[in-house]
């Protein structure tokens, strides 16, 4: 008797959702973007990033993507943050982390000479932001045939399909099928919206030379060596996607961890509240 409004609401929602499901499957059949769903380690409620993959991904970003694409929301120090690719438990302050220092030094940063006010280039320090690649948008477009290379620090967030999309796009370069007319300077890509992408295929086999990586062990036993895999296009695409997924969502691991604790707390709390409620209402007809 008390459930009538509930039934109406659930019934209407159910019909609406079924209709939505039918319609979206129809819609998906008509799309032209092919996006492969991968079983990422960061998926799911207990998902974590693969540190070795992120480190290799950073190398791919540095040696390939960074020719055109910036990481404007990241500082070098973020690389050594807890949960970051180069986190080292010996250096809780990432500004002290020698790997992070070395990587920052590898970039040149525009600054002002405090003695005479001249603009100078100096090696980066962990506190610096990743520098922009081009001085401004027109300069970026001029160097890229009129196309603007998007910032990569939120790329997996800013595209529907997220990490799956990014990976599929990086491995989605194919020869244009017969009958498809390509515009000047465009490449055919099965994952890109409209299939014509201004970026030439960025990855080719062995374009980077992978070295072994060192990641902290799960139980604080210092850094463990992880052997380098072969630098295939798929491997590099997976690694750089892992790195850029972290770059877009660096707090994911702590978020999921706190989420789990919150759920546990709420579950026990609501059980206690329910029992208290039952106790108080005992003997009250309602």
């Amino acid at each position: 008797m008390a459930q009538r409004f509930t039934k109406s609401l659930i019934g209407a929602a159910f019909i609406a959702l079924t209709a939505l499901g039918v319609a979206s499957s129809v819609h998906a059949a008509g799309g032209e973007q092919e996006i492969e769903h991968l079983d990422w380690g960061f998926n799911g409620i207990g998902g974590t990033y693969d540190r070795a993959a992120m480190q290799r991904g950073y190398q791919v970003y540095r040696e390939v993507c960074a020719a055109c694409h910036a990481l404007e929301h990241l500082s070098f120090r973020h690389l050594g943050d807890k949960g970051g690719p180069f986190y080292n438990p010996d250096y809780p302050n990432p500004n002290d982390n020698p790997d992070v220092k070395a990587m920052a030094k590898d970039w040149s940063v525009i600054d002002i000479d405090s003695d005479n006010g001249d603009e100078i280039d100096r090696p980066g320090i962990p506190a610096d932001k990743f520098p922009s690649i081009f001085p401004n948008e027109p300069a970026a477009r001029a160097s890229n045939g009129g196309a603007y290379p998007p910032d990569l620090s939120l790329i997996t967030k800013a595209r529907s399909g997220g990490s799956d999309y990014l990976y599929s796009m990086l491995v989605g370069y194919k020869d244009a099928p017969a009958g498809v007319e390509m515009s000047e300077g465009m490449s055919f890509n099965t994952a890109f919206s409209g299939n014509q992408i201004a970026m030439a295929p960025p990855l080719s086999e062995d374009i980077v030379e992978y070295a072994p990586t060192f990641v902290p062990g799960d139980h604080g036993e210092g850094l463990q060596e992880i052997a380098a895999p072969a630098a295939s296009v798929e491997q590099m695409a997976r690694d750089v996607t892992e790195f850029l997924t972290w770059a877009g969502d660096p707090k994911m691991e702590v978020r999921k961890k706190i989420g789990f604790a919150t759920f546990l707390y709420l579950l026990i709390f609501s059980l206690l509240l329910f029992l208290t409620y039952k106790q108080i209402w005992k003997g009250v007809k309602h």
Binding site: M1, A2, R4, F5, T6, S8, L9, G11, A12, A13, I15, A16, A19, L20, A23, V26, H27, I45, E72, H73, L74, H78, P150, S153, L154, K157, A158, R159, S160, G162, G248, P250, K251, R255, K256, I258, G259, F260, T262, F263, L266, L267, F269, S270, L273, F274, T276, Y277, I280, W281, V284, K285, H286
Partner: protein
């Protein structure tokens, strides 16, 4: 707030205070407020909504300490909050997801009122003040969505403020006055931030009046008959405080699911792209809680007519107490109206679905296919038909089921 008070000050100090500022009397009466004993869990959404409002205000105040409302810095400052401010990611997520949860709860609260006839005499003002709160909530939600200054923020703001430009004669100057310029730009963002900060406190004031009005007339209940004796009621505390507390804990689990595991599920990927006045997104889609109204807007070919219809869809709620001519409050005793209500619910869901899709896409593949535009027209027609003429006519012609004599009697017979 109303009725007679059972509070008796026990000490000299409380007696002294009671004759000057009866704050303890107020609290005691509030906590002991006699509530119908048959309220179900749908009645917990009032408490849930209070919690949502408080959560939005608290997280919002802290976010405002770190947020920069300028077109050059807004997008970056939100990223800084999520990356560098301690627990900023949590605050930002609570606030953004919180807006969705707030609307989710308010819709259930409103549909509950609709189903049990909580808008009927003597609760017309409770309902109308509630509608006013909802209207200001919509404004606040829209203003807040502009602040991250992503692509959807910018283009959403452009579309919505464009409504005012459609008003004849004064439209253009009104739009420019609202925007502080010829298009959405820095002055717009700064005034939107200012208004987004202040409106929630207007809501707090209205919620106070809303609750005051409820306490004056007493709560409605699932069988919709008046409280006849003290036997029909239970004290708000501990009975309903405890029931509400349990409901809140369950609600928080849904809230937490989105905050921690699906923080972006209710948003749009385009809003992770910085606002760009030169690039229009492929589809401009509002947040999910505005989708039904967006569908009504797009159901009409004429822009001004669409806007008027959309506003009428909200305004019709304000006069609902006088449109429904039935004496029986609860739909439990209205076998015909109940079915029309279920179809109305369905129409609202369909409108939401239409709002999310391109108008010319095929919604139902029958024959040549029914497009979303036509589906939204059918649903819009029913949305209005439900209020005029279905509800007024039903009130006159429907044969309602017999009402129980009292809440207590209904409980004893197992029909409450």
């Amino acid at each position: 707030m109303s009725g007679h008070s059972n509070y008796e000050p026990k000490y000299a100090a409380t007696r002294w205070l009671d004759t000057r500022l009866p704050i303890f009397r107020f609290t005691a009466d509030f906590m002991g407020f006699p509530s119908p004993r048959n309220l179900n869990y749908w009645y917990a959404f009032g408490a849930i909504l209070s919690l949502c409002l408080m959560s939005q205000i608290l997280t919002g105040i802290i976010l405002a300490m770190h947020y920069t409302p300028t077109v050059d810095a807004a997008f970056d400052s939100v990223q800084r909050i999520k990356r560098d401010v301690p627990f900023g990611w949590l605050l930002q997520s609570m606030h953004a997801v919180g807006a969705s949860m707030f609307f989710f709860a308010v819709y259930i609260h409103m549909f509950r009122g609709l189903y049990y006839g909580s808008y009927k005499a003597p609760r017309e003002l409770v309902w109308i003040i509630g509608c006013l709160i909802y209207l200001i909530m919509m404004a606040t939600g829209f203003l807040g969505y502009t602040l991250p200054w992503g692509q959807m923020s910018f283009w959403g703001a452009t579309v919505i403020t464009g409504f005012f430009g459609a008003i004849p004669i004064v439209g253009e100057s009104l739009q420019q006055w609202l925007l502080g310029g010829f298009s959405v730009d820095n002055p717009t963002l700064q005034r939107f931030f200012s208004l987004h900060f202040v409106l929630p406190f207007v809501i707090v004031g209205l919620v106070g009046i809303h609750i005051w009005a409820v306490h004056h007339v007493g709560q409605n209940n699932p069988i919709g008959i008046d409280v006849k004796s003290e036997e029909d009621t239970l004290a708000f505390h501990p009975y309903y405080t405890m029931k509400d507390a349990f409901a809140i804990a369950v609600f928080l689990m849904i809230f937490a699911l989105f905050i921690f595991y699906l923080p972006d599920a209710l948003g749009h990927a385009d809003n992770y792209q910085r606002a760009n006045p030169l690039v229009t997104p492929e589809h401009i889609v509002p947040e999910w809680y505005f989708l039904p109204f967006y569908a009504i807007l797009r159901a009409v070919p004429d822009k001004l007519m669409g806007i008027l219809l959309m506003f009428a869809a909200i305004m019709v709620l304000f006069v609902l107490p006088w449109l429904d001519t039935a004496k029986t409050r609860s739909m439990r005793f209205r076998p015909v109206a109940r079915w029309f209500f279920i179809i109305f619910l369905l129409a609202c869901f369909i409108l939401g679905w239409c709002g999310a899709r391109a108008p010319d896409d095929i919604a139902i593949p029958i024959g040549d296919g029914i497009t979303f535009k036509w589906l939204s027209r059918i649903a819009t027609f029913y949305y209005f038909a439900f209020f005029i003429p279905i509800l007024p006519i039903l009130g006159w012609v429907e044969k309602t089921k017999p009402l129980p004599d009292s809440i207590t009697k209904a409980i004893n017979e197992g029909t409450a």
